[in-house]
């Protein structure tokens, strides 16, 4: 894992001092709310329905045990004993006092963490693959690139007041576990003639106008990625729309200019940028890479797993995936217990996972965009002990990628932008489909719920997506089918008129019944939908 040096540490500490000063100016009235709002947002502090909300960055979803323990401590000390893991692999605290925010940032800085640029019209937390560094199908660990870009994007002088927020994702595997093509810019590391570089995709996103990003370059060498991204951002900063916040994302620019014209302008700017010496030397990426060099795995470990406990065996089959090192496994921890709140974890659960990471996972853990956690390096021999401890803490649900592994934004229970509540719907679905055999029978089925058109719940990318809307003051839910955030990325199509909360649960049941009736050998829900199309589903729902 990356560790701060004195430079990194001094920068986050300066940030704490700066924010303390800004909060003080706000509390004494030197700053109006209009002036303070963009400043606090750029440090992840929102004013939500019930209180201030603080979003803490978890860069590329990677944490140490010590960092995770601090997140639990903050939940206990400054919040109401829990936190919410988000689809951007960050954590949010819902009950923060403005006066406490600088102290929380100081605590975070003590464990090499921050809330820098977790909101605002700037470059946000760089996201990546939760299996980075441990999956067998990657060409390189994408996290050194993500860390290089975290540093480059932090307090970037030119790109801090962009037309709109800007999200960058870096992956390096064929399987896209991070919804790379639904980001403003997606980088996929590839190998060419023995060298690693990036395929670049631009103009993806969700929100009001969902788009899957087109490729704009097939290879950027690693020692030019910074100048290439500067070119992408400069063209966006110049031409991105500022007259309408719903048309301000880069996806609209790429769409309106056309991919070819956007590419042409980026190439023109890149030709200039590459002469300016903006790229760190290769030694800098090497320095960062050294931090991510694989831990010292033990050798000679057994791959055997004692499956005599059936509940454990079920969990292993569902939550544990192959690690590249013999004798090790990747453990997925579900934050989707039956009837629970997707992504929420109590301080005790957070601290338990911190302890498990330290004891059993070489002091490392990950957060996924599906709002789950991962212990990336667990010896197979330790799986049973890990499972027992998770089970005691209510964290041993076996539902990875199944219908109850639901992504849901906080919705109208917490969020001031929301039009409808997402969580109660997720809870009802979780109860309706609770039976293990039924979930297993349905197989991979990604349900994603957003409480408003901003799509934090990724509903466009759900095999089954639900969007909450406000219909004359009453919550109403639109259903969509056929979305995907994976390497076969696509945007879901709306089925038709919306439903009440109970109505949409019933409609989803009809959709799954039809899938079971129509599917062919080996087809996931998404495959069947793509083969037979919307019509039969519409008939089943509205018939």
């Amino acid at each position: 894992m990356y560790r701060y040096d004195n430079y990194d540490q001094s920068i986050v500490e300066a940030r704490v001092d700066e924010f303390r000063d800004q909060v003080q100016r706000r509390l004494t009235g030197a700053l109006t709310e209009d002036q303070f709002k963009p400043l606090r947002l750029m440090n992840g502090l929102y004013l939500q329905l019930h209180a201030y909300m603080l979003r803490v960055a978890i860069p590329y979803g990677t944490l140490s045990g010590r960092q995770m323990r601090k997140l639990g401590e903050i939940a206990r000390k400054y919040d109401k004993g829990y936190g919410h893991f988000t689809t951007r692999t960050n954590i949010q605290y819902n009950w923060i006092k403005l006066a406490d925010a600088p102290d929380i940032l100081a605590e975070l800085a003590g464990v090499e963490m921050h809330a820098i640029q977790t909101s605002g019209n700037c470059i946000r937390n760089i996201s990546s693959d939760q299996y980075a560094g441990v999956s067998a199908d990657e060409v390189a660990d994408p996290r050194p690139w993500a860390e290089l870009l975290r540093q480059w994007s932090s307090f970037h002088p030119e790109f801090t007041y962009l037309p709109r927020k800007f999200k960058i994702c870096v992956i390096a595997a064929e399987e896209d576990r991070a919804a790379m093509r639904l980001h403003d810019i997606g980088l996929k590391l590839v190998e060419r003639d023995g060298a690693i570089g990036a395929e670049v995709y631009a103009g993806g996103g969700m929100g009001r106008t969902p788009m899957v990003s087109p490729q704009i370059r097939d290879f950027v060498p690693e020692d030019e990625i910074v100048s290439y991204l500067e070119a992408c951002l400069r063209v966006y900063n110049r031409h991105g729309r500022r007259d309408n916040k719903y048309k301000a994302r880069i996806k609209i620019l790429v769409h309106e200019l056309g991919v070819e014209e956007y590419k042409r302008q980026v190439e023109e700017e890149f030709a200039h940028m590459r002469t300016l010496g903006l790229n760190p030397p290769t030694e800098e990426l090497d320095r960062i890479r050294a931090h991510f060099a694989g831990p010292d795995y033990e050798t000679g470990l057994s791959d055997a797993i004692d499956r005599s406990d059936p509940a454990f065996a079920l969990w292993v089959d569902r939550q544990v995936v192959a690690h590249r090192a013999p004798g090790y496994a990747i453990v997925n921890i579900s934050l989707k217990p039956r009837g629970g709140i997707p992504g929420d974890a109590s301080a005790e659960q957070i601290e338990l996972v911190a302890a498990l990471a330290e004891q059993y996972s070489l002091d490392e853990l990950r957060v996924t965009h599906a709002q789950n956690l991962v212990l990336p390096h667990v010896r197979k021999a330790d799986l049973y002990a890990v499972w027992q401890k998770l089970d005691e803490a209510g964290l041993a649900e076996a539902n990875l990628d199944l219908i109850t592994d639901i992504i849901a934004c906080p919705g109208l229970d917490y969020c001031s932008l929301a039009n409808a509540r997402s969580i109660p719907l997720a809870q009802k679905l979780s109860e309706r489909f609770a039976a293990q055999d039924r979930q297993a029978e349905l197989g991979e089925l990604k349900v994603k719920i957003s409480g408003c058109i901003n799509a934090c719940g990724h509903h466009h990318a759900g095999h089954i997506g639900v969007l909450g809307v406000d219909r004359k003051g009453v919550e109403n839910f639109q259903l969509s089918l056929g979305g995907s955030g994976a390497e076969d990325a696509s945007v879901g199509q709306i089925t038709g008129p919306g439903f009440s909360e109970d109505g949409v649960v019933d409609a989803i049941e009809k959709v799954t019944d039809l899938y079971l009736a129509e599917r062919q050998e080996g087809e996931r829900f998404l495959d069947t939908y793509r083969r037979i199309g919307m019509k039969p589903f519409k008939e089943a729902i509205y018939g």
Binding site: R26, L27, T28, G29, E33, L47, L49, H50, A51, Y52, K80, N94, W95, I96, K97, L98, A99, I341, L412, D413, Y414, S416, A418, R421, I423, P424, Q427, G473, V474, E475
Partner: protein
């Protein structure tokens, strides 16, 4: 009736204008008539509230009821965490927001 709401500047708590100050209980909210915007500006300038706004509400048997579900959720707390609402011992409190 028109009532005035916002959040406490320092704590972020949801607050309602109660005539002589701010209350955390929507039941204390008073009709501000046409004075809402003026009050909001004065209270915001005095650093007692952030993001104040005027909403419609009615008086029912159960007390003051904001017209929009969003403000009813603000008045109660998150419906998915009854323990953290202002009525932690009322299992049916969440139905009030619908």
């Amino acid at each position: 009736m028109k009532i005035l709401t916002g959040n406490d500047l320092v704590t972020g708590d949801v607050v309602w204008w109660a005539g002589d100050g701010w209350s955390r209980l929507v039941g204390d909210a008073v009709d501000v008539g046409e004075r809402g915007d003026e009050l909001a500006r004065a209270e915001e300038a005095a650093l007692r509230v952030v993001a104040p706004y005027v909403i419609d509400a009615t008086v029912t048997d159960e007390g003051v009821r904001p017209a929009h579900i969003k403000d009813r959720i603000r008045a109660l707390g998150p419906t998915v965490r009854p323990d953290l609402t202002l009525k932690p011992n009322d299992a049916d409190a969440g139905n009030w927001v619908i």
